[in-house]
């Protein structure tokens, strides 16, 4: 049962651009990415859009649909009303390249700045022993498909370009948390650098990252807040302050 739907697509590049209305056929069960592809094949051969797996597994097709950061391949057309116009725009926190494609290199830059996994020097391949309960927390964060929707929606950088240099963003807070909770990681200063170099303190836990995460990772509750608590452990904990432990852990 094909029906015509109204699609409003942002087209343009970094210098100029705007929303364009198109009418396109949509079949039962289709997702927004399908109708974008149909527009591409029939009306706008050069419409730029990123995608790969079309199964919500690669995190390529991130865009904003009716203002909400979403994966286009996981957004049903049927979720919108019969007469509703569906507006699709590129991610609004990153520089636009063309049409629905943005420059997400910010995220790859930040990825390079997070210190890598550091196992004990004497650990031999095949000899690692880890309990399931000890890896589960980090495994949740490793579900991340790097769609960068959380980064895009985080107001710290979405609304403040100048914060980009000092803020790693929720995607990389879960990376830091993953490593800090990794049973074999021995790098001690992750908490301190999270706060002092990667901008953990700039997050005001307003949870938009969690709201948009397609993998349903509890970014705020399970990574950011626990990391903030770990920072309190080394910097602001009352009990430790009184017992003078703080001084000794300064190095951490």
């Amino acid at each position: 049962m094909a029906r015509k739907i109204n699609l409003r697509i942002w087209r343009g590049d970094s210098t100029n651009g705007g929303l364009q209305d198109v009418q396109v056929e949509a079949n039962e069960g289709e997702v927004v990415l399908d109708v974008i592809h149909r527009v591409q094949a029939t009306q706008m051969g050069d419409l730029a859009v990123r995608w790969n797996c079309k199964a919500g597994k690669c995190g390529s097709c991130s865009m904003e649909i009716n203002g909400k950061p979403r994966l286009a391949c996981m957004t049903q057309v049927a979720a919108y009303g019969e007469d509703e116009t569906i507006t699709v725009t590129p991610l609004r926190a990153f520089p636009v390249i063309k049409d629905l494609v943005t420059d997400v290199s910010f995220n790859y830059q930040k990825a390079m700045e997070i210190p890598a996994y550091a196992p004990p020097a004497d650990l031999k391949p095949g000899e690692a022993r880890m309990e399931q309960v000890d890896v589960e927390r980090s495994q949740e964060f490793r579900k991340c498909i790097e769609c960068f929707l959380c980064q895009n929606t985080c107001h710290v950088i979405r609304d403040h370009e100048e914060n980009k240099k000092s803020f790693a963003g929720p995607r990389f807070f879960i990376r830091i948390a993953e490593l800090d909770m990794h049973p074999l990681d021995i790098l001690k200063n992750r908490k301190r650098t999270a706060q002092e170099e990667h901008g953990l303190g700039m997050c005001n836990i307003t949870k938009c990252c969690t709201e948009v995460c397609p993998e349903h990772i509890k970014i705020t509750d399970n990574a950011i807040i626990p990391m903030k608590e770990r920072v309190v452990d080394i910097k602001y904990d009352p009990a430790r302050m009184f017992s003078g432990l703080l001084k000794r852990e300064k190095r951490n």
Partner: protein
């Protein structure tokens, strides 16, 4: 021109293209919290109608001032001299700072009021009105890190309020074994406060979250698992406990002013 209007971003003039009622949630939060603040301020300064045998309002407990009405203190312990406040200020003000601080620094309430009061951001993917933002990295917001201190204080308060609930199972003559609507109200509010405190993120962290190896601490892991379950509903407990405390105070006040009678079941 910053944020979504920065020169490199896609040129879209709307602050948001969201078509749903994104403003509803912050509006409700604002309305409810604001009403509570008004009411609580009024009550804190009222300095009266907070005690009626055997009920004490949670706003005034523990009553530590010599200004406290008779019977409202804990074993008559009043370390704070009435002169400090010179009768101009109510006994509630000595203690309210703690539960207030606890809630102000609560991770959930922070989200709620940053969004509803400070519009930072008002809702996800809706541009905020501020041109500068530094988050919780400097004063005063860096003080949010004091949540752990308030958490410990909050636990202490829960003990007092539970004690209040227990002694409310007396009749007006001080005899045990009676139960009134008031006892249930105090019981409900103190219980919900426990749920609120135990589901706190700091609690989750302290009982086990800070550990690297759960497998080496099976008991703390169990505790952490339980607290994690509660923590899921921390937002709900935050609101329910707030409502319950407010209602407990209203109830005590109504009974104290004689507007309502405290019905005894037995």
């Amino acid at each position: 021109m910053s944020g979504v209007f920065s020169p490199t971003r896609a040129k879209i003039k709307e602050r948001t293209l969201r078509t749903d009622k994104w403003w509803l949630q912050p509006a409700i939060t604002f309305a409810v919290l604001f009403s509570f603040i008004i009411y609580a301020t009024f009550r804190a300064f009222e300095g009266d109608n907070y005690f009626v045998e055997p009920l004490i309002s949670p706003f005034y407990s523990p009553c530590l001032s010599q200004a406290c009405v008779e019977g409202s203190t804990i074993f008559g312990w009043t370390p704070v001299s009435a002169e400090i406040f010179n009768f101009a200020l109510s006994p509630a003000l000595i203690i309210l700072i703690f539960p207030l601080g606890f809630r102000m620094t609560c991770y959930y309430y922070r989200k709620a009021y940053y969004r509803a009061f400070w519009l930072s951001p008002p809702a996800c993917a809706v541009a905020e009105p501020h041109s500068k933002y530094t988050g919780e990295t400097r004063a005063p917001l860096i003080l949010q890190n004091a949540h752990r201190w308030f958490f410990y204080a909050g636990l202490l308060f829960n003990v007092f309020l539970t004690y209040d609930a227990v002694i409310s199972f007396k009749n007006a003559e001080g005899e045990w074994g009676h139960m009134s609507v008031g006892s249930l109200v105090l019981l409900a509010s103190s219980t919900l406060l426990w749920f609120y405190s135990l589901s706190c993120h700091t609690c989750r962290h302290t009982v086990g979250g800070r550990l690297k190896h759960f497998s080496k601490h099976p008991i703390r892991y169990k505790l952490w698992s339980w607290v994690s379950v509660l923590n899921h509903s921390h937002q709900q407990f935050a609101w329910y406990s707030l409502a319950a405390v407010a209602f407990a105070d209203i109830y005590v006040r109504q009974v104290a002013t004689g507007a309502w009678t405290n019905f005894y079941f037995f």
